[in-house]
């Protein structure tokens, strides 16, 4: 009880205390200290075999539509109101429930299979009895266990890294399974716990691990280990091995399980596909409400009609059926009951099947989008991915695009181009002049591209697109981007200082050397060697995709294609195939010779071993500019050889190797916009802090006035670089005294061990150190060849999007100068534009300028001559912050609305999303955000449609997005063609669906006027169900998937056509009501023509219903065939097939069913009708009359569309004619 109490208290504090399981091994469960924490077995299935049906039903009845159905079915069991046989009324709900249950069950079974596979994956757990690690399964892992993970194995649970085979206590992991990033990340052992001996002894672990409660943040982990002597060691994410990651380049590692199973960070991140509701669907719901109102009105008419009909009767006629006591209800009560009967009878008016159909249509649309070969990037072998399945039509309604710059508009392949040191500029002319080879495909690591397709072998086909893109090679080690031709002047300068300083050690602090040392040291680049084979084991880790219906669909579609590959992948996997036997044998690490030669704090002369490996050094950086800087340093002879958490090894141009002891690394964050590395210089033993960051972030921190003067020179150069569109970075250095470091170190440790408020404390301590810096110089890095820094076809795309009526905004973290330059390059800005530059520090100034500008712009807007220049706005992040405040935001939005293009510079990720939100909410427009990096995630999530570019900067943007493309230019086809198609297809299909239901149901309604409003259906109930289920369901779905109102070529050639979808587009209020009126007209024709034909004859109820049913089938299908703009084989098959199915099914049903569905007797009715020529004559004239108003209208609109097929011809005539005709 005390323990329980303590646990509750811990729960309040949001922390957990964990101890080793080993002392308790073999005891019963109640005595286990960690028994409260879940095991490592995962269960992602929703249902169990036994309770599948009740649980699934419970789940399904959360949907409103199903409740509606159920309500109707129940209503049918009330004897006074039922319209059909009660059992029959259960059919629709049962069909829908059964279909959904089948789908859910199948998905759940797949989840079950993948869970079982994961849970039974082997792993090594330490066993006290056997004094060694023994092979167990993943599901046996418990919190508090010690787990050993061998190279290239997947980590089974979240582990606190206690030991690695690496003498520096480093372990490399690949997180591709988690976030898709393929670069290696370093993790290091918890300091001070593991002894340096080669074997780790878990039994000696006697600390208490105190950690925060499980959360889904992959980049933060707060924990400390309390040793028996009460010393607390703070631990962050850098010592946590996450479940699902793969251990690389490290022979084996041992970790302590902190979180297991569902509490691991990867499982907590596994939320399944995103659900967004599209604009069209929201509008659709209002129309459903109209339908409900219509239904109620019709039911009311029925109820009142029944009431007055009963009132008029002079006495009781023989056809009125009293109840069992021979008593008749009063007319008022009967009318009241009739209201509900009518609801049952006319229920189809609410198009429940529409929702199912929309889902099917979207699956089809997604299939076509993802299979578009134009959206496929050959270079990276990535097709387009649709991550959100239900907002395809939103792509056709976009009004504002918010784009990131780096990596989205540009290639984001960084190359060091120019630098300035101590106020002197080194232009690196050779770099600029050098003709760049055309983009060629490169595969630096041929071993890596395993032709046998290891992923196939592991069955990762259904792992989804993330894994597929993860198969790509490491991004930043292309030979193309790494080649930097050194500037001659700078090279001479270095040689001079080198030679002059070779005698005196003081020369080591020369600014030039320092500059290059900073380039090489101040980063988080991991060095790996090409000799190390990186096997990619991509077992399915997250069953994310199983709940994604499209995935399975496309899987099926592709199955045939992948069959051949599967066959070939069944070759013997030789020594690379991982079997549990060779895993248990710990092999000596032959690869990591580099890391072994490194020795903390020591100094080592060049050995032959390192000499050999250095040409094949590979740098794996988290961002491409880091890699570019390291490559630049290497070009000048400062080669980064190795990086461990404790040291950095750099080879100087003279061949000497320096090993710097790394005391601390202050990681980059978007608030500070800089990172620092604190090292001890091996020669001078000085404590040196190298800081790298955005120029404006650094300039503020500079120390002495002398520095400020150099800074002014440098700033001039920087501005000049920025105008060329180069990205600028500054490097600074600071020498610390031992005492200052000691003081700082204490507070730093305190901050690291803190659980509460840790991020802020860490940031504060970082800020504490990063003051009074010395400017070393700055470099700028920029990518891609001389011809253009932009991605291919970016200007064309932007121009086309703009012609399509879309406003394009660029939001970037770069300086205004850089942004404006890119803006001109990508034709976002034109030479003739009036560019308003807003960059103010004072709020007051901002207000007045905003007012003035707005006044001016409004005047331009009213200019009748139309000669007013287009206006563009460039706004700085600081000004933007002011403009977004509540009192200014309206004016800002008004100004921005009138500008043709807007460029926001130096904005933070949060500001990006704030801008998107403000525009979206204030202007009520459809927004699209496109970006590639982690800093775009907020923006992508804030917009109606988020698009991620699977490019250079990891996969966070893609993971957060609704659609993922690989190049910006794909946006053009995605929006202009697929967006337009998806929107028009879906909008037309929805309208058609409403029309279809109303047209059909109204037949029943008109009949009520001739049956005393008694709720009689003249069509057999089964045939009514079949009508919606089989006879008329496939054509509209096909229409929604495959119709092409305008060809892709025309859409791309005439971006203006996109405007039809913006705003309300085709799916207008009027469109809906036109369709409704048409439905009313057609149903009137379909009812009254047969009525007059058969008036005063001996026709019986169901014989009368048969021509009605047939006529409405023809009318509904032919109505659709007018709407269909292009007919392919599929169209013909489905349309003719539907008619055939109608006749075959109805004939068969009429022949078989003698007394199966009393009281309706369809027996031999269609057969007898089909023997009667009147039936055909009635059908022909009714169908023609029903469609008569449509044909001429469409023939005119077709005429004008045909006329349009050469896109140059003008629209005007057609528009005029349409007006005349309508």
């Amino acid at each position: 009880s005390k323990r329980h109490h303590q646990r509750r208290w811990e729960g309040k504090r949001d922390i957990r205390k964990l101890v080793s399981n080993l002392p308790y091994e073999g005891l019963e469960k109640m005595k286990q200290p960690n028994r409260h924490f879940p095991g490592n077995a995962i269960k992602t299935t929703k249902y169990t075999l036994l309770f599948f049906i009740p649980m699934n039903l419970f789940e399904q009845f959360h949907r409103l539509a199903n409740i509606y159905f159920l309500g109707l079915a129940i209503l049918n069991f009330v004897p006074v109101v039922n319209a059909f046989q009660p059992e029959v009324a259960l059919i629709p709900i049962c069909v829908i429930l059964a279909l959904t249950a089948l789908k859910d069950g199948w998905e759940d079974f797949r989840r079950y299979q993948s869970d079982r596979k994961l849970n039974n994956t082997p792993c090594f757990i330490y066993c006290r009895k056997e004094q060694q690690f023994v092979e167990r399964r993943w599901k046996d892992v418990r919190v508090g266990d010690f787990v050993k993970v061998i190279c290239n194995e997947i980590i089974p649970a979240d582990l606190l890294l206690l030991h690695t085979s690496d003498p520096n206590g480093v372990c490399h992991i690949e997180t591709a399974n988690l976030d898709g990033e393929t670069n290696l990340k370093q993790r290091r052992v918890v300091p001070g716990l593991s002894t340096s001996t080669s074997e780790f002894e878990p039994e000696s672990f006697n600390g208490v691990v105190v950690c925060e409660r499980p959360n889904n943040n992959l980049n933060h982990f707060k924990c400390y280990v309390e040793k028996p002597d009460n010393v607390k060691v703070g631990i962050g994410i850098e010592s946590l091995l996450l479940r699902g990651c793969t251990v690389r380049n490290t022979d084996h590692t041992v970790g302590f399980v902190v979180y297991a199973g569902h509490e691991t960070k990867s499982m907590l991140n596994n939320n399944g596909p995103r659900y967004k509701r599209s604009k069209l669907e929201r509008k659709l719901n209002t129309d459903v409400i109209f339908c409900i109102i219509l239904l109620f009105a019709m039911c009311l008419v029925g109820a009142l009609g029944h009431f007055s009909w009963l009132q008029e009767l002079p006495s009781v006629p023989p056809y009125l059926v009293p109840d069992s006591h021979g008593h008749l209800d009063s007319p008022a009560l009967s009318g009241f009951y009739m209201f509900f009967t009518m609801i049952i009878l006319l229920q189809v008016l609410i198009p429940i099947s529409l929702y199912v159909s929309i889902e099917l249509v979207k699956i089809g649309q997604v299939f076509f989008i993802t299979n578009d070969i134009d959206l496929y990037d050959e270079e990276s072998d990535t097709p387009m991915q649709c991550r959100a399945l239900n907002i395809t039509e939103d792509l056709g309604q976009i009004q504002y695009i918010f784009s990131d710059k780096t990596g989205t508009l540009t290639e984001n392949k960084m190359v060091f181009r120019r630098c300035t040191v101590m106020g002197t500029e080194y232009p690196h002319c050779e770099n600029g002049k050098r003709p760049w080879p055309p983009q060629s495909r490169w595969t630096p690591d041929t071993e890596d591209a395993d032709p046998a397709g290891t992923p196939h072998y592991h069955g990762s086909r259904h792992r989804g697109k993330v894994a597929e893109s993860a198969q790509r090679d490491v991004a930043f080690s292309s030979p193309l981007e790494t080649e930097v031709v050194p500037d001659r002047k700078l090279l001479q300068q270095i040689r001079r200082t080198e030679s002059s300083s070779s005698s005196s050690s003081s020369g080591k602090t020369d600014p030039y050397l320092d500059f290059f040392l900073a380039l090489a040291i101040c980063n988080t680049v991991v060095v790996s060697t090409a000799t190390v084979r990186r096997q990619r084991v991509s077992a399915p880790i997250c069953p994310l995709e199983t709940s994604n219906p499209f995935e399975t669909f496309s899987h099926l579609v592709r199955k045939v294609g992948s069959f051949r590959q599967t066959i070939s992948s069944w070759r013997p996997m030789s020594n690379r195939s991982r079997t549990s036997s060779n895993c248990s044998v710990l092999e000596e690490d032959h690869f990591n010779s580099l890391a072994k030669t490194g020795n903390c704090g020591g100094r080592k002369s060049t050995g032959p071993q390192t000499q050999d490996t250095s040409p094949s050094l590979r740098y794996e950086a988290e961002s491409p500019d880091e890699a570019a800087l390291v490559h630049a340093a290497k070009a000048y002879g400062f080669t980064l050889l190795a990086r461990t958490p404790g040291s950095v090894t750099v080879r100087l141009p003279c061949g000497e190797e320096l090993v710097f002891e790394v005391l601390d690394t202050l990681a980059f964050d978007s608030h500070r916009k800089r990172m620092s590395v604190l090292v001890r210089h091996p020669v001078t033993s000085e404590l040196v802090l190298y800081t790298k960051g955005a120029d404006y972030a650094i300039m503020e921190l500079l120390g002495t006035p002398y520095q400020k003067r150099i800074a002014a020179d440098t700033q001039r150069h920087l501005d000049c670089y920025a105008k060329e569109g180069l990205r600028t970075l500054c490097f600074t250095k600071k020498v610390l005294s031992e005492r200052a470091y000691k003081d700082w170190s204490v507070s730093r440790q305190g901050a690291l061990a803190a659980i509460d408020n840790r991020e802020k404390l860490i940031m504060d301590t970082a800020g504490l150190l990063e003051t009074n810096l010395t400017l070393l110089g700055n470099t700028r890095v920029r990518a891609t060849g001389i011809e253009d820094r932009l991605q291919e076809s970016v200007p064309d795309t932007i121009v086309a999007l703009r012609e399509a009526g879309i406003q394009v905004w660029v939001l970037t973290g770069d300086k205004p100068e850089t942004a404006v330059n890119i803006g001109y390059a990508c034709r976002l800005l034109d030479e003739g534009d009036l560019v308003i530059n807003m960059n103010y520090v004072l709020q007051l100034m901002c207000v007045s300028i905003l007012d003035c500008t707005l006044e001016e712009v409004r005047r331009y807007g009213n200019d009748p001559t139309g000669l007013a220049p287009t206006i563009s706005l460039v706004i700085d992040g600081r000004t933007l912050a002011m403009a977004l405040e509540s009192d200014l935001v309206d004016r800002f939005v008004d100004l921005a609305r009138r500008c043709r293009s807007v460029l926001c510079c130096r904005v933070t990720p949060l500001q990006k999303s704030a801008v998107v939100k403000v525009i979206r909410e204030k202007l009520k427009v459809m927004t699209l955000a496109v970006g590639d990096g982690a800093n775009d995630v907020n923006m992508i999530q804030a917009a109606d449609v988020g698009i991620g570019i699977s490019g250079q900067e990891g996969m966070q943007a893609v993971m957060a997005s609704d659609f993922a493309i690989s190049r910006f230019k794909h946006l053009k086809k995605l929006l202009l063609v697929h967006g337009h198609w998806c929107y028009t297809r879906l909008a037309n299909m929805i309208i058609y669906f409403f029309y279809k239901n109303v047209a059909y149901v109204n037949l029943l309604f008109w009949y009520q006027f001739f049956c005393g409003f008694s709720g009689t259906a003249m069509i057999d109930y089964w045939l009514m169900i079949f009508f919606n289920l089989f006879f008329t369901s496939a054509p509209p779905i096909m229409f929604g998937i495959m119709d092409k109102d305008v060809s892709a070529e025309t859409l791309l050639g005439l971006p203006e056509l996109y405007r039809t979808g913006q705003g309300t587009g085709e799916y207008k209020f009027s469109t809906f009501w036109t369709a409704m009126l048409d439905a009313f007209y057609q149903s009137l024709v379909c009812f009254f023509i047969p009525y007059w034909v058969y008036e005063d004859s001996d026709i019986d109820v169901f014989t009368f219903g048969t021509p009605l049913n047939t006529v409405s089938l023809f009318t509904i299908l032919l109505h659709l065939s007018i709407e269909i703009k292009t007919w392919t084989v599929v169209h013909w098959v489905i349309m003719l097939g539907s008619v055939a199915v109608y006749f075959i099914v109805t004939l068969a049903y009429s022949a078989i069913c003698v007394t199966c569905n009393p009281p309706s007797n369809p027996y031999w009715i269609l057969q007898s009708q089909m023997a009667d020529p009147m039936f055909y004559l009635t059908c022909i004239i009714t169908t023609v009359l029903a469609l008569l108003p449509r044909y001429p209208q469409y023939s005119f609109s077709f005429a004008y569309k045909n006329k349009n097929s050469p896109p140059e011809t003008d629209f005007e005539q057609g528009t005029i004619l349409e007006k005349v005709w309508l």
């Binding site: 006629p317 072998d381 004859s1097």
Partner: protein, 338 residues
């Protein structure tokens, strides 16, 4: 192998996946639509004329015998208190009423399509199942059991309300009445008579009805509906079958007999006739009317002017529309016509 790996994710470049299937765009240009309309219009006019002429050739003789009006011969019978009333309806034909003549009775304002009325029957009982003789279906309430709790066969409201007026037609030849023979065979649907409705296979039929009672409204039990023909009794009685096939609309006629035999094979010759009506069925409760109809039929069934006129109207409309379109097109000069 390598190539394959590099483009493993490449979408299939087929006409279907790339949405490039060979497509046909319906060119509803003026050149097609206008002639199309003309052709449809002319065809419709042709059909319309044929229908109209056919319909015109059909002879129909209708007589109301409800007896609401004072001068009606059945006036005295319309009083519900009179029982077993017989009235005579006289009419004369100027010329031969071509045969075969169909003789219908008609009811108006009678809602056989009333929902609860339609449900009130037991199809299993009517297909001859003896189980349902003893315990009729719930749907038959309140015509399921009688006051003594005996099952009613046939149960339900439809059967109960069986039309029970009977007719005899006499030709007045030289003052003498000559009975016109009625053919009562095959007036119901063949499938109703042979498949759907079945008598229990018990002979004599009467025994199958042991322990049951006739519907309250009926004057004689089901097995005695037609004393003249033992095969025309029970549930396969033609009149019963015709009645059980519920009319779709409140004003309807039902086939009673055909005149196909003897002297009247070629129709009813000109002359005076007298129809003797056993007036039993009450219709004043619902403002209904009763009538008899003599009609001959063509390939298009009974007389119906509507369809012919509709074809004519719509055919002309199509022609007119094509002219209007021609004018509009000509005025705006579409390029594809140049």
């Amino acid at each position: 192998m390598k190539e394959q790996q590099e483009t493993a994710n490449r979408p299939d470049n087929t006409a279907f996946t790339q949405q490039r299937l060979p497509a046909w765009q319906p060119m509803l240009s003026a050149g097609i639509v206008i002639p199309g309309f003309v052709i449809i219009g002319l065809a419709f006019i042709g059909i319309g004329i044929a229908l109209f002429v056919t319909s015109q050739n059909i002879q129909v003789l209708e007589r109301d015998y409800t007896g609401v009006e004072n001068n009606s011969p059945c006036f005295k019978c319309s009083d519900p208190s009179t029982k077993n009333c017989v009235c005579k309806l006289d009419f004369s034909l100027d010329k031969l009423f071509e045969g075969p003549v169909f003789f219908y009775y008609g009811l108006s304002n009678y809602f056989q399509n009333y929902r609860k009325y339609g449900v009130s029957r037991d199809d299993r009982q009517l297909s001859g199942r003896l189980d349902n003789f003893q315990s009729p279906d719930e749907g038959c309430v309140p015509y399921q059991y009688d006051a003594n709790n005996k099952p009613i066969v046939p149960c339900g409201s439809v059967a109960n309300s069986l039309f029970n007026d009977t007719f005899k037609l006499y030709q007045i030849v030289n003052g003498a009445r000559k009975l016109v023979p009625f053919d009562g065979k095959g007036i119901a649907w063949w499938t109703d008579h042979n498949v759907k409705y079945r008598n229990p296979s018990i002979t004599p039929l009467k025994n199958a009805f042991n322990g049951t009672v006739k519907p309250t409204f009926w004057s004689k039990p089901a097995y005695e509906l037609d004393p003249s023909d033992p095969a025309n009794n029970g549930f396969v009685n033609q009149d019963f079958l015709v009645w059980m096939r519920r009319a779709a609309l409140p004003d309807f006629r039902k086939l009673y007999r055909r005149i196909t035999e003897g002297d009247y094979k070629n129709g009813l010759p000109a002359g005076n006739y007298s129809l003797e009506i056993a007036y039993n069925y009450p219709v004043l409760d619902f403002d209904g009317r009763k009538k008899v109809v003599f009609s001959n039929v063509s390939w298009m069934g009974g007389k119906n002017q509507f369809l012919g006129i509709a074809y004519l109207v719509i055919g002309s409309l199509c022609v007119v529309m094509s002219i209007v379109m021609l004018i509009v097109y000509a005025k705006f000069k579409f390029p594809d016509e140049e």
